[in-house]
């Protein structure tokens, strides 16, 4: 996976509502039609980093099957960050496309 895209994917997933690490990992795989395979362990340092930057916040809650789990939700700063990073991603994709498929 491209450097820095994992952060973007986590932020996008959390934009739909609070979730815990397990849900996030599967959500990314499902949304990408199983194209993007995330090593679930690597999610946690990324989550920690995002929380450190105050883009997401965490709380302990109860999962669907009644397990204690640490939930993450997007903060307003994180929402802004998601917007910016999405725009930037679009720009990069457009730029790369212009090179790969010249009109």
């Amino acid at each position: 996976m491209l450097q820095g895209t994992l952060d973007l994917l986590i932020l996008k997933t959390l934009a739909l509502g609070p979730a815990h690490g397990h849900t996030i990992g599967y959500a990314i795989e499902r949304q990408s039609d199983e194209v993007l395979q995330v090593e679930h362990g690597s999610l946690y340092p990324a989550l920690h980093r995002l929380e450190d930057r105050d883009w997401i916040a965490s709380f302990w809650g109860t999962s669907e099957n009644n397990r204690r789990a640490r939930y993450y939700r997007l903060t307003p700063a994180g929402r802004k960050q998601l917007e910016e990073q999405t725009n930037r991603w679009d720009e990069i994709v457009r730029a790369i496309n212009r090179i790969l498929r010249p009109a």
């Binding site: 690490g21 397990h22 204690r68």
Partner: protein, 896 residues
């Protein structure tokens, strides 16, 4: 956020562990739901998550400040190691503390007398005004501690200068606080009215002096007391302001107390009372204010804004001719006047004040700092050696850590942390030792006649110095062993078994060179110590021409007795006779100058009408003076009843006098005159006696020509009588007898006692200081080097146990084993001594100015130092050698 997390990082780690555990639980649940067996479901969940420990470590790393965390853990680990080796820790910390402490103490003194600026406003603007080049010499009387200018010169400078915002003139004196009985003195300064304002010193209580206090002819003058005097003598009460203070029998009004940090202008000294210069005539027998040839003032000035020292000096040079023209003393001889008129005033930087302490001791202190620096280097070499030995013991451990991927830098850092811990604790202990040692040093330099005062507050410079020492020592003794320890190939170290490659010649070579350096440096220090000790011994054993043991110097102040000029002669004779008649007094005589007291009086003489260029020292003594001081009479007679104010003037001269002026022929019956200014009568003195040479102002000087005049022929002496008195009775008995005898005859006389022994003792202060301290450091250095040699030899024996065991098993006798080890030690010692001897000869020239009666590269001293070191070194290596020879071969071999 980061710092907070840093301190909560273990709590955070627990949190992560729980979070990861919750992931595994959820995934396991889902796997079971997908139809897996519970056991299999959990394993699959763990696989899906990946390496949990690594995840936690990654997050932990994010939370931590890597370097701090590592350093903290290294320090904790180092502390644990030190606790496990209390012996090593104790030796290391003690030797470092001694080394750092000695360095810091000496530096503290240097800082106080040399580097620190005066406690006044903007000290960098202060300059001292004095005559730039006193070519041809200044003539006249010199009194006080900074006799740079006369009062008429000060007045002229004050009225003509344009370079300065203010002038601060001062003269030093001592004020008697009592009106009768045994005298008690306060350190006094006469200052001009602007003095305190120029320096920018504000009163702590009341006010300081101002220009209005310093009007010529002031009758009931004001006085400012120092904080110390106010505390000591006035009980520190605010009501002291306005009170009267008796100085030399005159009442002064206390108007203010100076702030505690203000000790005056002379570093190394303090003052008790400051009074305006206009009060000088009240406190002196003869005022010097109108005397153009009495030098007693020092002068500081504050540069005007925008003026530099060069510009001020140019300005002073321009006004100098007029100033010296107007103040030229009428009594001067033509040649004196000529050189006087050629003088030029100049400004010199004075932000650090003036100091006789600095002049007398600066060279000694720098030398002592070098000495203590070497001691510290020796201590560091010892520690480096000990750490090298420890590193060898830990070689396998370090090799394992390197093999499993620890970086070399990381291990060096860990080893250094231990050294840093040692040097930090050592430096802390050093600060404590320094406090005590510098107090001891100041106490050492303080004498009855020279109450030195040094502000020993520890300032940032001292802290910076000590801190730098700690870091430097840590690097010196810690870095090499640490780098050495990590430079081994892990494979080689592991393979080598219990005998690590540290035994290799190269590795062991470092430890041997360290010992050689130690021996060399300690030889330098021992040589230095011996030089100073022998210098002191030379001075103490030297034939000074008098015997000071049992001689008491009695000073009598007759100013309050009301005896007029003409009556004093008779009173003096009567008092001397009374003292001479006291039981237990063997001899007593009047003496104007006591040898080696520092006072002097010299002049040129005229023989047969021809002036001689050689200066002659003079003294005026009563009958029995030579008997009192045990100076042998060689020819002629002592002064006696025949020598009165009416009779022909007589003199007694020394051998040196006779040799210089009469070519060694018998001078009895010859005559000379004392050279005087134009218009002054020149009496003719007939020589009636010849005595052996004696020292005059200083024990270190060559014998000078001395002429003794008869005190009994001085018609109108000043109202001070000084008597030297020889007695075998205890000091306390003699002083109380003298006090009661004098009080019975003249109740209002003020008495002061001093033993001649203490005067001689005080005059050798610098020599005693150098001998004591360099002796102590020399011993310390020798001891440290011995410990170092012992350590290396023991270590070598330990590592070669196996080889020695084989030798003994093969039939080597014990004697040859001892000889083998001793040979090894002798090589190291010889190398050290040779290097040390070269270094000692090179370094000794720095000491030449401080030595007496021996050459810096004195071969006897060098040989004695080498022999002494060899003796202790032999002892230090004999112990391990004997231990080696007692090895049981079977035990030694089985250990492998």
């Amino acid at each position: 956020m980061s710092i907070k997390r840093f301190f909560n990082r273990s709590r955070w780690d627990d949190e992560r562990a729980r979070e990861l555990e919750s992931y595994v639980a959820i995934e396991t649940d889902e796997n079971i739901a997908r139809g897996m067996a519970p056991e299999e479901a959990r394993l699959a969940a763990l696989r899906k998550l990946g390496n949990r420990t690594r995840v936690r470590e990654d997050i932990y790393q994010m939370n931590t400040i890597g370097f701090l965390d590592g350093a903290w853990r290294d320090l904790k680990y180092g502390a644990r190691l030190l606790r496990l080796n209390p012996g090593f820790a104790l030796v290391a910390i003690l030797s470092l503390a001694l080394g750092v402490g000695a360095n810091t103490a000496i530096f503290q003194l240097l800082d106080a007398v040399r580097i620190r600026t005066l406690p006044v406003v903007n000290p960098q603007q202060l300059v001292e005004l004095r005559i730039a080049d006193t070519k041809g010499g200044r003539t006249g009387r010199f009194t006080g501690r900074r006799p740079m200018l006369t009062y008429p010169l000060f007045e002229q400078i004050r009225d003509r200068q344009q370079a300065f915002d203010g002038l601060a003139a001062w003269g030093t004196t001592s004020f008697n606080l009592t009106r009768s009985g045994e005298a008690r003195y306060a350190l006094g300064i006469w200052v001009n009215g602007e003095f305190f304002n120029t320096l920018g010193v504000k009163a702590m209580l009341g006010r300081t002096l101002n220009v209005d206090d310093d009007g010529r002819g002031c009758a009931s003058p004001a006085a400012v007391v120092s904080y110390g005097f106010w505390q000591r003598e006035l009980g520190g009460e605010a009501s002291a302001i306005g009170r009267a203070l008796d100085l030399e029998g005159h009442a002064f009004r206390i108007v203010g107390v100076a702030p505690p940090q203000f000790f005056g202008i002379e570093v190394g000294r303090t003052f008790d009372v400051a009074v305006p210069l206009c009060a000088e005539p009240l406190t002196r027998v003869q005022s010097s204010l109108d005397k153009p040839d009495v030098w007693f003032l020092g002068l500081f000035a504050r540069l005007k804004e925008g003026w530099t020292i060069e510009r001020a000096t140019a300005h002073l040079a321009a006004i100098s001719p007029q100033i010296f023209q107007l103040t030229s003393p009428p009594r001067y001889r033509p040649e004196d006047t000529k050189s006087y008129l050629a003088f030029k005033l100049a400004a010199f930087p004075a932000g650090t004040g003036v100091s006789s302490l600095r002049r007398d001791y600066e060279a000694s202190l720098w030398l002592l700092l070098a000495t203590t620096g070497l001691v510290l280097v020796i201590a560091c070499a010892n520690l480096a050696n000990l750490l090298l030995a420890r590193a060898t013991a830990r070689e396998r451990e370090i090799a394992v850590r390197l093999a499993i991927g620890a970086s070399r830098g990381r291990i060096v850092r860990q080893l250094l942390a231990e050294s840093l811990l040692l040097s930090a604790i050592g430096a802390g202990g050093g600060l404590l030792i320094a406090r005590w040692l510098s107090q001891f040093l100041v106490g050492f330099l303080r004498t009855d006649s020279n109450r030195i005062f040094v502000d020993l507050t520890t300032d940032w410079r001292v802290f910076a110095f000590t801190g730098a020492l700690a870091v430097a020592t840590c690097l010196i003794f810690g870095l090499t062993p640490a780098i050495r320890a990590t430079s081994t190939e892990p494979g080689a170290a592991m393979k080598a078994g219990s005998r690590g490659s540290t035994d290799s010649r190269e590795r062991f070579g470092l430890r041997r060179s360290l010992v050689v350096v130690q021996v060399a440096l300690s030889l330098v220090l021992v040589v230095g110590a011996l030089l100073f000790v022998r210098s002191l011994r030379n001075l103490m054993l030297l034939d000074a021409g008098f015997r000071q043991d049992g001689v008491l110097v009695v000073n009598l102040d007759l100013r309050g007795s009301g005896i007029a000029g003409q009556g004093r002669r008779a009173a003096f004779e009567e008092l001397s006779a009374r003292l001479r008649a006291l039981p237990g007094v063997d001899a007593a005589a009047e003496a104007f100058i006591v040898p080696v007291s520092g006072s002097g009086w010299n002049n040129r003489i005229v023989i047969d009408g021809a002036a001689r260029t050689q200066n002659v020292n003079f003294n005026e003594v009563g009958r029995g003076y030579f008997r009192t001081l045990a100076t042998p009479m060689l020819a002629g007679r002592d002064f006696d009843d025949r020598d009165t104010t009416q009779s022909r003037k007589v003199a007694i001269v020394t051998e040196r006098f006779a040799n210089l002026f009469f070519e060694g022929r018998n001078p009895i019956g010859r005559t000379f005159q004392v050279e005087e200014g134009a218009g002054v009568e020149r009496p003719v003195y007939e020589i009636v006696g010849l005595v052996k040479d004696a020292k005059y102002t200083d024990l270190r000087e060559e014998f000078t020509p001395i002429a003794f005049l008869a005190a009994s022929q001085e018609a109108e002496p000043d109202p001070f009588l000084q008597v030297v008195l020889r007695s075998s009775a205890p000091l306390a008995t003699v002083t109380s007898e003298v006090t009661s005898a004098v009080s019975a005859a003249r109740p209002s006389v003020i008495i002061q006692f001093q033993t001649m022994n203490s005067m001689v003792h005080d005059s050798l202060l610098r020599e005693r200081l150098m001998a004591t301290l360099s002796g102590f450091f020399g011993l310390l250095a020798g001891l440290l080097a011995t410990i170092g040699l012992y350590g290396v030899m023991s270590y070598m024996v330990e590592r070669r146990k196996n080889e020695i065991g084989i030798r003994i098993a093969l039939g080597a006798d014990r004697g040859s084993v001892v000889a083998m080890i001793m040979r090894e030690a002798a090589t190291l010692l010889a190398a050290g001594l040779i290097v040390g001897a070269v270094a000692a000869i090179a370094a000794a020239r720095w000491t030449s100015a401080l030595l007496f009666g021996l050459h810096p590269s004195d071969p006897v001293t060098l040989a004695a130092a080498a022999v002494a070191l060899t003796a202790v070194a032999a002892l230090a290596s004999y112990v391990p050698a004997v231990r080696a020879s007692r090895l049981e071969p079977t035990v030694a071999l089985r250990e492998e």
